[in-house]
């Protein structure tokens, strides 16, 4: 051992330094070998482009950019599924991409392009309650104007007996509200804030406004006659917006629908095994109903609201100050 190797740790003199014994030298030699081995492994493992532009592998973003997206986009779907696409485009799910519900279509489209049966790569179709509720479950954190439900409450209201009933039994996901006009064609309406958007107390709307409270408008403030009439009719338990769906466009305004599509009424009134027929009038089918009641072709062309609006919903019509909808709007 050379004197230079002596460490004076502990300061006990050169003869008993840390490297004075063979075992000590061997241990530190092994440690040194391990450190060198570790550094070599590091050198071998660190990718060549690491650190070129920052604390990351410089090639990584380029490799990511070169990857082909798995999602195809709805225009690709429309090439083969024109019917679903057309219905989907006019209804409220217009901004929901096909693949949001059906999963990525890469394999499906690839099979089609290769001239194979695309069913060899089937898309996801068996939507369960949970799939719809991923967006539509009522949560405190969700926007008030976005349609959300508490499943139990919703089923009680629309008289569904079986709690496992899937949403699409009534709501076709391709046209969930069976709108008879495109969202963008619906009538522009100012944004209104019902009391319950901010307050959770029961019957809050019936209480007087506290002093200094910002003035709020509800449906009855402009459409008093209609609301008064509606409150006496069998549908009074529903909110105006249940049928006159409100679609928020901006912080000030949105679109309001006057939906006369019979499919919309049949969401509740079509006879299905899971519905409670004792508490809600149910039809076997709309055509069968027309067979029973229609006297001529003119009757056959009628919609539910053409006969039942006055009796069941509201007989007073018109907008603010006697403003009556134009025929175009009521279509």
């Amino acid at each position: 051992m050379s004197p230079e190797n002596n460490s004076d740790v502990g300061g006990k003199g050169p003869r008993n330094g840390i490297f004075s014994q063979a075992y000590s030298r061997r241990l530190f030699f092994i440690l040194a070998v391990l450190v060198v081995a570790g550094l070599s492994v590091r050198w071998a493992l660190v990718p060549k482009s690491f650190g070129e532009k920052g604390h990351y592998r410089a090639l990584a973003p380029l490799e990511e950019m070169a990857r082909k997206p798995l999602l195809q986009g709805k225009k690709v779907c429309a090439k083969c599924h024109a019917d679903e696409f057309t219905r989907h485009e006019k209804d409220i799910h217009v901004h929901v991409q096909c693949e949001d519900c059906h999963g990525d279509g890469s394999a499906h489209v690839k099979a089609r392009e290769a001239g194979l049966d695309p069913e060899q790569a089937p898309m996801f179709r068996e939507l369960q309650q949970a799939n719809c509720l991923a967006c539509h479950r009522r949560l405190a954190a969700r926007p008030k104007l976005f349609p959300t439900i508490d499943v139990k409450e919703h089923f009680r209201k629309v008289r569904v007996k079986d709690p496992a009933t899937r949403c699409q039994e009534c709501h076709n996901p391709h046209e969930p509200l069976a709108l008879d006009q495109r969202v963008s064609k619906a009538r522009i309406h100012p944004l209104i804030h019902p009391c319950k958007d901010c307050h959770h107390e029961k019957d809050i709307a019936k209480k007087p406004l506290p002093e200094g409270h910002v003035v709020t408008f509800t449906c009855k403030d402009c459409h008093a006659d209609i609301v008064a009439d509606f409150s006496k009719k069998p549908h009074a338990q529903f909110d105006c917006r249940t049928c006159h769906l409100f679609h928020k466009d901006s912080e000030f305004s949105g679109r309001i629908f006057k939906n006369g599509n019979p499919k919309f009424c049949l969401m509740c009134h079509l006879d299905r095994p899971f519905k409670d027929g004792d508490r809600i009038p149910l039809l076997e089918s709309f055509d069968a109903h027309l067979d029973d009641v229609a006297e001529d072709d003119g009757d056959r062309a009628k919609r539910c609201v053409d006969c039942h609006l006055d009796e069941m919903i509201h007989s007073v019509k018109g907008g603010i100050g006697g403003m009556v909808s134009t025929p175009e709007e009521s279509e």
Partner: protein, 400 residues
């Protein structure tokens, strides 16, 4: 867990990414085990560095305990990760501004220090065993001794010197290792239950408490299993340190919450409900009342009054068990508690660990138990208690 099951566990306004508690019981076990590492090391240094002679019988055992817990400290972290092999990226390309990468460096440094210190402190016994044994066993011990069986006063002096040097170097690194764990939580400024510079001091002190407690617990259990009279000197010294450190630790824990309560910031309104409702059992009942107040009284009585050995042993042993639970509860309340409240300050989620899953209770228990088995194994290879102590004499008598 199905989405609808998750929905039942939330109250109020919770952001979507806060519904599921991501840092599970594994992240509770991680600071707990790291704490045992730091605590045990500090006990061993009390003898090796500060010359606390009464701790000699347990000093080497404490050091090796520290090493075996250290080996298992990252285990819960790796189990928590979805792609654990990626964790090694922070060792290969550590970022200078990453606290997590800092852990890799501190952990590795500490591991090297403890391995060197353990080897030098066990070397004399490894050499003795090599000289006594034959055949394969002899080769094994010779290899462990790096094929140098020299053993005399000079080598003993050198071994002590090296152990002392690395004990001195190890203390700040051990403090860093555990302080860093507290730092990780304390530096998360969005979470008022975590964000306090006191966090790493509290973590460090609770680490020392749990380290001393686990050593007392093991010392008692080993003495009882081997039917050896418990060394009162060791227990008395450790109980004194345990009492002192637990007082500072618990005081800081309470003062930290009190200061937030007194400030009455907007965060307190959330924390208050967290403590009163979500963490009532684990924080108020277990951490503060049962596992802090009781051991405080027990250890106080033990230190102040002159008790019979049996009574004193009972008080110290039960205190050590309670304080081990206290520190575990503290880790739980910090790690899980901080994730139960929404950053909106208006909602809460809840968490129940699974039993058999990857981050479940069974695996957490296994990870916590394996170091003890490993410790027993090491004791079979090299005696961890010195031959002039009661447990060391037992080892000499019962060697096969």
């Amino acid at each position: 867990m199905m989405e609808h099951e998750i929905m039942n566990q939330i109250t109020g306004f919770v952001f979507p990414n806060e519904i599921h508690v991501h840092w599970t019981v594994m992240i509770v076990m991680y600071p707990y085990i790291t704490g045992l590492v730091a605590g045990a090391f500090i006990v061993s240094s009390l003898y090796h560095l500060f010359g606390k002679e009464s701790l000699k019988p347990i000093a080497r055992f404490a050091l090796v305990s520290s090493l075996v817990f250290l080996v298992f400290a990252p285990m819960p972290l790796l189990l928590h990760l979805g792609i654990p092999e990626r964790a090694f990226n922070i060792m290969i390309t550590p970022s200078g501004t990453s606290a997590m990468a800092g852990f890799g460096i501190v952990y590795l440094t500490y591991m090297i220090i403890v391995v060197i210190e353990v080897w030098f402190s066990l070397r004399a016994d490894i050499v003795k065993r090599a000289l006594e044994s034959k055949g394969v066993k002899r080769f094994f011990y010779r290899a462990l001794a790096l094929f140098d069986l020299s053993l005399d006063d000079r080598t003993n002096a050198l071994d002590h010197k090296v152990v002392k040097f690395f004990a001195a170097l190890g203390i700040p690194v051990a403090c860093f290792l555990h302080g860093y764990v507290g730092f990780l939580f304390g530096s998360i400024k969005a979470n008022p239950w975590w964000s306090t510079p006191l966090m790493f001091i509290i973590f460090l002190l609770s680490a020392i408490v749990s380290g001393i407690a686990v050593l007392i617990f093991l010392f008692f259990v080993i003495s009882w299993v081997r039917r050896v009279t418990v060394d009162r000197d060791v227990i008395k010294t450790l109980a004194g340190f345990l009492w002192g450190f637990m007082i500072i630790d618990v005081t800081l824990e309470i003062m930290e919450v009190l200061s937030v309560a007194y400030e009455q910031t907007e965060a307190w309104q959330t924390i208050e409900i967290l403590i009163r409702d979500k963490l009532f059992v684990t924080y108020v009942v277990i951490q503060l009342l049962l596992c802090s107040l009781v051991p405080f009284l027990f250890l106080g009585v033990n230190s102040v009054l002159r008790l019979r050995a049996k009574m004193s042993n009972f008080l110290v042993f039960s205190s050590s068990v309670l304080l081990l639970i206290q520190v575990l509860a503290m880790r739980w309340n910090v790690v899980i508690g901080g994730q139960l409240m929404s950053k909106s300050f208006r909602g809460y989620t809840s968490y129940t660990p699974g039993i058999w899953e990857k981050e479940g209770l069974i695996l957490a228990f296994v990870i916590f138990t394996v170091p003890f088995l490993l410790l027993r194994m090491v004791d079979g290879i090299v005696p961890l208690f010195p031959p002039d102590s009661a447990l060391g004499r037992w080892t000499l008598e019962h060697r096969t």
